[in-house]
């Protein structure tokens, strides 16, 4: 049996509300809100967060591949998935690939993963769908899109939802596009796209999938597809002709926003969170065609490790205080330019420590060190160090809220925290309400963008309040 064996979500902590947007542009704004990636987040860091959650309680050793799906990969050229793999401390002997091009990227990655596992090429494959959706300031899309990531694990042990049937349709259509160098996507006439492109393809894919599976529409418990907004999703659902009960609620649209390539995966997770054993789920993923999957929840669905995590991620929120701050987060405003010293040569040499968070432990006296060192400070034993993976959770020992370093979100909270399992970490805090940061606070390490010295992105770890 091949299917989904786990999932994880990451919803950035910040929310842009209709109220804040309305106040900025003079419109009513409305009651909706959307998730906004922090200034130090991008598709890579959000993918890491979703997959880190997906991997909780599982062994990295069983992972044979990692696929990253996104329309907003921070690097147009360079292995984004390899970076996520390294931050997850996955082994070198795995397959990795970036999937992009349209919001269907996650389905393409998912299909490749299924085929890989079926063919015996990997025991398990991780898929992250992660998108930071840019919308033109002042446009209606500004409140409709959202930033988030969803992670899935595909394998054959402990399957929570089995893949029963798959079909793919490919159709060229100029509907939504973004060319090299462009920040914001263009959309062709909305009614044309929705009524002449999306809906007919969703219908066709659903019908062909059901025909192939030999099932009628009333045998389907949940129908999952991404639409531009909650209202359109409702309309589409009616037109597709499935039971009313098989429709998903619109809270992802209203609380996170349409998260592009991540949206289909988050919606699928939404369906899995409430699925009962035996439930049949149809998952339709549109974009340059349409992929359609029939999944069936197994009796392990109710005990899925992350059940309930989507709701928690939606609730762990902090409203962004002003529209100006939102523009700062997106880099839309001119800001103090800094060029911190860095070098890919250094980062490559220190990858195990900087990206994988490996310290060392003295073979002679057991003393642990992060960052790693060659000579033990306690017993002066030289070059006899074992690899030691530092804990990812800890407690703030001391901290300061520093108003000097340039940042889109002052002050920078710098903290030194005692880690579970020994050792200490020192660095910036992330997603942190500075007024509430204090000694004794529980934190976890999270993978973030640190700076863009020398024109490339320098990622590192920050401490996030739990």
């Amino acid at each position: 049996m091949v299917g989904i064996t786990g999932y994880g979500v990451h919803v950035p902590r910040y929310r842009l509300t209709g109220q804040v947007v309305g106040a900025a542009w003079g419109g009513p704004g409305g009651k909706t809100e959307r998730a906004v990636a922090n200034h130090d987040e991008d598709a890579v860091t959000m993918a890491w967060a979703a997959l880190d959650s997906c991997l909780a309680g599982k062994s990295q050793n069983e992972v044979g591949g990692i696929y990253l799906a996104s329309t907003s990969l921070p690097y147009l050229e360079m292995g984004n998935s390899a970076l996520v793999a390294s931050a997850l401390d996955l082994a070198c002997e795995i397959h990795s690939a970036d999937f992009s091009g349209s919001v269907r990227a996650a389905a393409s990655a998912f299909l490749s993963a299924i085929n890989g596992v079926k063919a015996g090429a990997a025991r398990s494959v991780l898929i992250a769908a992660s998108d930071l959706r840019q919308a033109e300031p002042g446009s209606p899309a500004e409140l409709e899109v959202g930033d988030a990531a969803g992670g899935l694990m595909v394998g054959s042990d402990n399957v929570i939802a089995e893949i029963k049937e798959v079909i793919s349709l490919t159709r060229e259509i100029v509907d939504i596009w973004r060319r090299e160098g462009e920040t914001y996507p263009h959309e062709e006439d909305a009614r044309f796209v929705r009524e002449n492109a999306m809906l007919p393809l969703l219908k066709e894919a659903a019908d062909k999938l059901l025909k192939k599976a030999g099932l009628s529409k009333d045998k389907i418990n949940k129908v999952v597809f991404a639409a531009p907004d909650a209202k359109t999703a409702q309309t589409f659902h009616k037109s597709l002709g499935f039971s009313e009960a098989s429709a998903l609620g619109g809270e992802l649209y209203q609380k996170i926003g349409n998260s592009g390539a991540a949206m289909p995966v988050l919606l699928l997770i939404q369906a899995l969170e409430t699925a009962q054993p035996g439930d049949r789920i149809i998952w339709l993923v549109y974009g340059g065609g349409c992929d359609a999957f029939l999944l069936e929840a197994t009796d392990k669905i109710a005990s899925a490790p992350n059940r309930g995590s989507l709701g928690k991620a939606i609730e762990f929120r902090r409203v962004i205080s002003s529209y100006g701050k939102y523009l700062q987060f997106r880099g839309s405003l001119p800001s103090e330019k800094v060029n911190p010293y860095t070098s890919p040569i250094i980062l490559n040499r220190e990858e195990a420590a900087i990206i994988r968070l490996h310290g060392v432990r003295c073979q002679n006296c057991g003393e642990r060190y992060f960052p790693p060192r060659r000579i033990c400070k306690k017993c002066r034993t030289k070059d006899k160090m074992d690899d030691w993976k530092i804990g990812h959770r800890g407690k703030i020992y001391t901290l300061t809220k520093d108003h000097l370093p340039p940042t889109p979100d002052p002050p920078v909270v710098m903290a030194s925290a005692d880690l579970e399992g020994g050792g200490r970490f020192y660095g910036q805090m992330a997603d942190c309400d500075a007024a509430k940061a204090e000694i004794g606070m529980e934190v976890e390490l999270t993978f973030r963008r640190l700076h863009e010295g020398s024109g490339f992105i320098n990622y590192f770890w920050k401490m996030r309040p739990i």
């Binding site: 060029n339 070098s343 001391t398 300061t400 920078v412 020192y426 010295g453």
Partner: protein, 394 residues
């Protein structure tokens, strides 16, 4: 021969500290050197070797990469000169190295100079930019000089259940002292209310908890004890000189056994200096001190590291006025780094100069009553290097 008891201070001098927009690195060096020559009662031609303390040439100024800057500027070539750099302990480190050269008998008369020209660039382009744009690509990013010491301030206030008022009181004391020092960067008093309402810099440190970005130069001239009497009767002796290191620049905040309440480098440097000087109870035997108050919290922590107060009790010296000008152990009588300013390479020698001036009774309005034995202390990096010098009457 060791330094202690054998190396004499013939004279000291330092230029006006501040934002010296109309003086360059070399002007300040000339001003400080000629004050020191006069104080030492020597002719420049008597200097046989020199040490130049400049922490970061090319970072904010453009001079001082090597010792030849000094030799050329003061027209002392061909004497040998080497540049010394050891974070904020640079100035005293230059003195320590110069003292070794005298003690070993290689030279009769030498000079140690400290010069730092930090205000060729805006304050923000000076030390803040160093932290933002230099250093390890990812470790400690977001760290600033006040941020380093603010970590100690947070912990110290937390552990000792104190409010930030105690920090403000250090600033008030040093501003009071600085108001009587015509060469200080800041020469005005502040109130506790001003200190507590000042904008935050690196919390809990506020504006008045931080030393400024300053230009300055300071010079000390050394000789052997036997020669000193012939050259200048008003000489002083180095009674003890300790230096120590602890921890790495990019790793100390990662060390699990660092309690963020004290600096081992200072403790070890002090221990060594006291042993040489035969001091067993520094709180009683030291009469006047200039310690490294880069930030107000550092001064309180120095009290404990230097043995002026037991662990966790340093703040009481401020609360009880022990370290004020009228107190039992006046500290930072010239305003400290807080008000004199902190041109990094020059600071240690300016501090030594202030202590010598107190011992020699030349401090005018800020002169303390009893000053036979004085101490100068500098702390560098994130607390990873320190120097302690004990000086006194022969």
């Amino acid at each position: 021969m060791p330094i202690a008891g054998e190396v004499a201070i013939l004279g000291t001098g330092y230029c006006k500290f501040g934002e010296n927009f109309n003086s360059d690195y070399k002007d300040m060096l000339v001003d400080a050197a000629y004050l020191a020559y006069a104080d030492a009662k020597i002719d420049p031609g008597q200097i046989q070797a020199a040490w130049l303390g400049t922490y970061l040439p090319y970072a904010w100024g453009f001079e001082g990469v090597a010792g030849s800057t000094l030799a050329d500027t003061l027209a002392l070539s061909p004497i040998p000169v080497v540049r010394v750099s050891n974070y904020c302990a640079t100035g005293l480190e230059a003195v320590r190295n110069a003292a070794f050269a005298v003690a070993c008998g290689e030279y009769d008369v030498v000079m140690a100079c400290g010069v730092e020209k930090m205000r060729e660039v805006p304050g923000r382009g000076s030390l803040v930019a160093q932290h933002v744009e230099k250093g390890h690509p990812v470790y400690c990013k977001g760290r600033t000089a006040p941020g380093i010491f603010a970590l100690l301030a947070s912990r110290y206030l937390h552990v000792n259940k104190l409010s930030d008022e105690i920090l403000g009181k250090v600033a008030v004391k040093n501003h009071h002292n600085g108001s009587m020092n015509p060469k200080a960067h800041f020469q005005r008093e502040i109130t506790l209310e001003q200190a507590r309402k000042a904008p935050p810099v690196a919390e809990p440190l506020r504006l008045f908890d931080c030393c400024p970005t300053t230009d300055g130069a300071a010079v000390v001239i050394l000789t052997r004890k036997e020669l000193a009497q012939k050259l200048n009767k008003d000489y002083l002796l180095i009674k003890g000189f300790g230096a120590a290191t602890n921890g790495g620049y990019f790793t100390i905040q990662f060390e699990p056994d660092f309690d963020f309440l004290g600096f081992r480098a200072t403790q070890e440097a002090a221990k060594s200096a006291y042993r040489q000087a035969g001091i067993s109870d520094p709180a009683k035997e030291i009469h006047v001190a200039d310690c490294h108050d880069c930030f107000t919290i550092t001064e309180i922590i120095n009290y404990e590291d230097l043995g002026f107060a037991p662990r966790g009790q340093g703040w009481r010296l401020i609360e009880e006025g022990v370290t004020s000008l009228e107190g039992r152990l006046p500290v930072n009588t010239g305003g400290g780094l807080k008000c004199s300013g902190h041109p990094i390479g020059a600071s240690g020698i300016r501090m030594l100069s202030e202590v010598c001036d107190q011992i020699r009774g030349r401090c005018g309005k800020r002169q303390v009553k009893r000053a036979d034995i004085g101490l100068a202390h500098t702390l560098g990096g994130p607390g990873t290097v320190a120097c302690v010098a004990v000086v006194g009457r022969p």
